[in-house]
Subunit: 232 residues, 4 copies
């Protein structure tokens, strides 16, 4: 009996946290971090300011948690795309990875803005965190590329440069795509970008294979949606 109540309480707590999370994500995406006041969030969420501070240490803490969770989610999806199914070719591996990014940010447009725009010049403290995350992501890619280079599966003069350029072209294009085109035609956009990247890395691939890889991973992700969606 006691347990039950506690559980329900826990549940409620989680619900409110989620509510704040999602509301904040939306407002941050609409107006930007600095143009969003705590009151804006609480009013839209239908709670009091006091309650806000019951769930988050402060405004920055909320943003950080939002960022972390988004990053985690994005990373999870990415990991799934790359590791869940042993890719048969390098082209498949990268096709799945890039397409997964498209899918993620399309599904969570608000969060894309938070990850790729708001987080960028927030403040020196957060900057560091952001930079570290980027570093880590570049590093991971660098390791992969170094490995593949050794095996002769990619041909690039510098794995680090290629890693950053890879991620940069991806993120920049997705940002651009979300800003203009209304998330339509994901397939076509992903395809063109993947070709750009595969060519850049001098990976062997066949066009029709790439198209199939994209189709496959998109289907998989749609089916396993619930597994990744922590909120919203």
């Amino acid at each position: 009996m006691v347990y039950k109540r506690s559980d329900r309480t826990e549940e409620r707590k989680d619900e409110k946290r989620k509510l704040i999370f999602e509301t904040a994500a939306q407002i941050f995406a609409e107006n930007g971090y600095h143009q969003t006041s705590v009151k804006d969030i609480t009013e839209k969420a239908g709670i009091s300011v006091g309650t806000f501070y019951l769930y988050f240490k402060n405004k920055e803490d909320l943003f950080e948690k939002l960022y972390d969770e988004t990053a985690q989610m994005s990373s999870d999806i990415s990991k799934y795309a790359i590791y869940e199914k042993k890719s048969e070719t390098v082209a498949e591996r990268f096709s799945r990875a890039v397409t997964a990014s498209f899918w993620t940010f399309q599904k969570y447009k608000d969060l894309a803005r938070i990850m790729l725009i708001e987080a960028v010049g927030l403040n020196p403290q957060f900057e560091k965190k952001y930079a570290e995350l980027m570093q880590r992501s570049y590093k991971e890619m660098e390791i992969v590329l170094t490995e593949l280079k050794k095996k002769g599966l990619v041909d690039i003069p510098d794995a680090k440069v290629a890693a950053v350029a890879f991620e940069g072209s991806c993120m920049t294009y997705i940002t651009y795509w979300l800003r203009t085109d209304d998330k339509s035609d994901l397939n076509a956009h992903a395809y063109s970008l993947i070709i750009f990247i595969l060519q850049a890395l001098k990976v062997n691939f066949k066009d029709e294979d790439v198209k199939r890889y994209i189709k496959d991973i998109l289907e998989e992700l749609e089916n396993k949606k619930d597994r990744f969606m922590k909120f919203r």
Copy 2:
């Protein structure tokens, strides 16, 4: 007599404007736009708040002017690199363009941060301006790539996607480079990135040519420094 005085006065005004500009650039770069108060700028510049408002309408106006002038300068240098010397090969053209970007942002590290980081999520009004500038830059590149594709000099499925990915990989890498490595070894970094891009576009090139292109444009820019450096 009156003329002389007026001239000297005008000169001093220009100098002060420059002083504010450079001071602001530095502090914005260090602490970020929102973490920088007008007082921070004036104190570091050794002037009074009143004087600040004599030269700029407000803080945002200063930032916008800083951004515009940086963008202009960057664009000038880029144009020089591409058009001043009729490039003999596509590889030369892109090598010169990319290297010029490296050179510019290395010379004006503060401003690079302002252009590439601070400007990103500033506020809805500026956001629009920033987006438009990006659009324009992508569009220009798209036109170039479309042309070259017709001539069979590049091989990409979609000129627009390639254009954005090109610029994205460039800017992301330069940002990364400036954040970590202290602008050393520009040559090596530029080289690797150029290869990445030339491969992505399937442009024909020879390694040693690329290296020469880089060396040449860097030399030219160093010689013509004064022509581009509006401030600092």
Copy 3:
């Protein structure tokens, strides 16, 4: 439980609003609108600046509300004096009206200053509002005088001119009276002014009646004080 708290809270809010109102009225009266800073008001009221902006949009908003409420109160009292008791003679009607003005501004000396002095040349926006209120008041008096002129109860060449001159002599004298004499001897002052006006309008009257009219309305107003006093 929630209700009670909410009620008490509402009550306290009203009290605080009143507190700011009254404090502001006093300081505006003492030092003038432009010489009064928001800090002056909050310090004297013993609240923080933030609290001020919780109750009023800004300094001008406070002034405007103060003005409006004062105008309303003054108008209410005036209406009471004129319409509550069907006056038997024109002399009685005007005696009651003029005396009511004296009584009002004597009771709310601070607000009199705000209505008659501070509001005058405040700023173009408020100027318009002020002018409109005056216009309306003149217009009302003009209608009354036109009516009475038709009935042969007043004798004046131009009802509009008489209306403005009537109000002007009243307000000017009350202002003068408040500035010098410390609100003593209201009866005598009101009497002399009423005679001036009744003569100007060529209204028939008997001295002793006028004296009685004044006495009566003053008594009535003192008894019904609570009905009119919105604050202070």
Copy 4:
């Protein structure tokens, strides 16, 4: 020779002073004292701020001088109207005085605003000066009325009250008139107001005489314009 130059210099000084005076009068009238900056005045006058402070101690000093000179001019005209020609009747005396006020403020609409609107709630120091001037003016009128009352030429219970009410009705009406009607039909307006006042004071008069008095003094003033117009 030295004299001549000095004279010319003096003349120039006076001219510039006048220029500032007139420009200020106009801007104060348009936008109000507090909404007018020293820069506004100097820019419109085509001089530098420095020059402004060469001729006036500060902004308030300018206003005060403007006020004083206006008051002096108004007083001069008033005195001329009353004393230059020995009035044959009380009605003539007051007709001339009131009409002169109309004429003055019509001629100097800017200054009317400064005298009657801007001066009112300026600041505690000026307030005192303004009050004193009013007192003096009321006092003078009171003396006149007391005299006439003794002689049985006016019939009022209290000379002081009548004096203030007299001035108040006059000034209020002129203010109203200037605000609405574009100074047209001075004759008709003056006539109605004079009747109001003469009736209030129970002065004997004939309508056609009053009309003649008005006509006469207006003619005289137009002819002697140059004698009174210190500026503008």
